[in-house]
């Protein structure tokens, strides 16, 4: 039987996390050995030889105390620095990252691609291209965990989270839900398929019968009746959504807000929360119970595309979206 000792390293960050892990492990082994050895040697060398023996007292040494406080702390600062470097390097995806959308739902992962493919508990990504995953949850907190990528991110209901990676090695890797989410938590597992670029293109071209996410979103935009008020060519009863995404919106209370995913999400689920200047509240009904997270993502991708068609390139680069 094959006994694995380390998980496969299949993302651009996996190796750097591993090196840091080796470093930490080395320090741990050395320190543990020192303590064990000292305890063992002292226990043998200074064992009690007669029942009434009283050793000379040693009360302490300021120099030693300072040494074994400061030196370990300095070593730990190197852990901190190194770990923080990697963590922050993983903070924002590069501008050219491709998008994938994942919805966690008790107890499955629903993945959809801008090109229109949808799958459950399977994720297909090409080698060498940065992938940004937008995470949403239908119900409780889940956590998107790919051990081979050394990455995980919680999926908190009521908001969007993102994570990104660049896969470096073709293969089939575990996808786990790492945050306890109820009965079939351990069944909320799937596979990440890392493919070469041609294989990926090939895979993409099969499927997507329902059209791209933009097309699906456009259909929903009609189905839910959004288009009757949010008219795209003229100012209707509701704000025009063209060029909206990534712009700053003036609100009726004098504040401005950035039109990002979170804003669109809130405006659909809780339309009265932020009212655009010049419009009235209570015009739009809430869609909170009617649109599920998957459809919501399609709508948002569609609304995002409206910004692109108007002014190509004006769409906010990922990662700069939330920047102040």
């Amino acid at each position: 039987m094959q006994i694995p000792f380390f998980p496969e390293a299949a993302s651009s960050t996996a190796d750097s996390v591993d090196y840091l892990y080796y470093y930490l492990s080395a320090v741990t082994v050395i320190m543990t050995t020192v303590i064990f050895a000292a305890v063992f040697i002292f226990a043998v060398k200074y064992r009690r030889r007669s029942d009434d023996e009283i050793p000379e007292p040693i009360h302490g040494s300021l120099k030693l105390e300072i040494a074994w406080s400061v030196i370990p702390f300095l070593i730990m600062l190197t852990f901190f620095w190194w770990g923080a470097q990697i963590y922050f390097a993983n903070a924002s995806p590069p501008a050219d990252a491709m998008d994938v959308y994942a919805v966690g739902k008790q107890w499955m992962w629903k993945i959809q691609y801008p090109e229109g493919q949808r799958e459950i508990n399977e994720l297909h990504v090409p080698i060498g291209r940065p992938v940004r995953i937008t995470l949403a949850s239908e119900d409780v907190i889940h956590s998107f965990f790919v051990p081979a990528f050394r990455l995980k991110h919680d999926v908190v209901p009521g908001r969007y989270d993102t994570m990104w990676f660049t896969a470096t090695k073709a293969g089939r890797y575990h996808l786990f839900c790492a945050e306890y989410c109820g009965t079939e938590h351990s069944g909320m597992v799937g596979w990440v398929n890392v493919m070469s670029e041609p294989d990926y293109e090939n895979w993409l071209s099969n499927g997507g019968a329902e059209g791209t996410m933009v097309q699906q979103g456009e259909r929903l935009f009609g189905q839910y009746g959004c288009s009757s008020c949010h008219q795209l060519d003229q100012q209707g009863r509701c704000p025009n959504l063209r060029g909206l995404y990534g712009s700053r919106v003036q609100l009726n209370d004098g504040k401005t807000v950035l039109a990002d995913d979170a804003y669109l999400r809130e405006s659909i689920f809780n339309p009265n929360a932020k009212i655009v200047a010049g419009y009235k509240s209570d015009v739009m009904p809430t869609y909170a119970q009617q649109i599920n997270e998957e459809h919501l993502l399609q709508l948002i991708v569609y609304i995002k595309s409206l910004a692109i068609t108007k002014a190509p390139g004006a769409v906010a680069a990922p990662g700069t979206e939330g920047k102040k």
Partner: protein, 244 residues
């Protein structure tokens, strides 16, 4: 007997020859007993600070998240009742402080009267609170109970529907915070009744009044919590004129 001891023995019982009947056996002196009791009460108040602190923490976060909804819900509180209750509690704190003083000086009659006054004002506070709760109930501003929540626009509040969701959080805060405070008040009143009974039975004198002292600390603490709850819950949405 061992030959070495790090302690030497001295009979301290002789030192407390005049044994106060209120001195519990495991204390050496009355002062030690009094200090222990007061310190114990302060440590207990420490835990109370953190107990309410948890709620204040959550309050702070949501208030920064949803300032508009906070102002909107606050319009449904009646600041006159709130102010009245603040004044009532402050008076009760005064009578409590005077009661402790009377106990200290051994003035038994004054102590009993002041304790009764404290109880009276405490009950007044709870009465006003009950009236307020009833108003919210009638007004359908109780999200906790199905069928008693209505936050649609009305003539008086033409723009409140936009906060219909988050307002529920804030009403939850209102009921939880004032509710926990009211529970503390009820405990306080019960405590005062006990102290009053003890005072009537002549349990206290100028050398022993520890229970009065520590219940007083508790009473003042509950007052302090209300001093913060009043502006935080009642006084957000009532601005009438703008300075700017």
């Amino acid at each position: 007997m061992q030959p070495i001891r790090r302690i030497t023995v001295a009979d301290t019982h002789g030192a407390v020859a005049e044994h106060n009947p209120n001195l519990r056996h495991h204390f050496d002196t009355m002062e030690q007993q009094f200090d222990s009791a007061t310190l114990g009460m302060w440590v207990f108040l420490l835990t109370e600070i953190m107990f309410f602190g948890g709620m204040f923490c959550a309050y702070m976060i949501y208030r920064t998240m949803y300032p508009g909804a906070f102002a909107s819900t606050s319009e449904h509180m009646n600041p006159l009742w709130g102010a009245t209750n603040t004044a009532v509690l402050i008076v009760s704190s005064l009578t409590m402080a005077l009661a402790v003083r009377a106990a200290h000086l051994g003035e038994q009659k004054a102590l009993q009267i002041l304790l009764l006054l404290t109880i009276f004002f405490g009950l007044c506070f709870l009465g006003v609170k009950a009236i307020e709760y009833r108003e919210h109930w009638v007004d359908n501003k109780v999200p906790l109970i199905a069928g008693h929540w209505d936050y649609s626009n009305t003539d008086k509040y033409p723009n409140q529907a936009q906060y219909a969701k988050q307002a529920q959080i804030l009403f939850c805060f209102y009921f939880f915070m004032t509710g926990f405070h009211a529970v503390h008040m009820i405990v306080g009143v019960a405590l005062m009744l006990t102290i009053f009974t003890m005072a009537r039975r002549g349990k206290f004198n100028s050398t022993y009044f520890t229970p009065v002292e520590i219940s007083g600390l508790y009473w003042h603490f509950v007052d302090i919590v209300w001093i913060f709850l009043f502006p935080l819950l009642y006084l957000i949405g009532h601005t009438k004129e703008s300075l700017f």
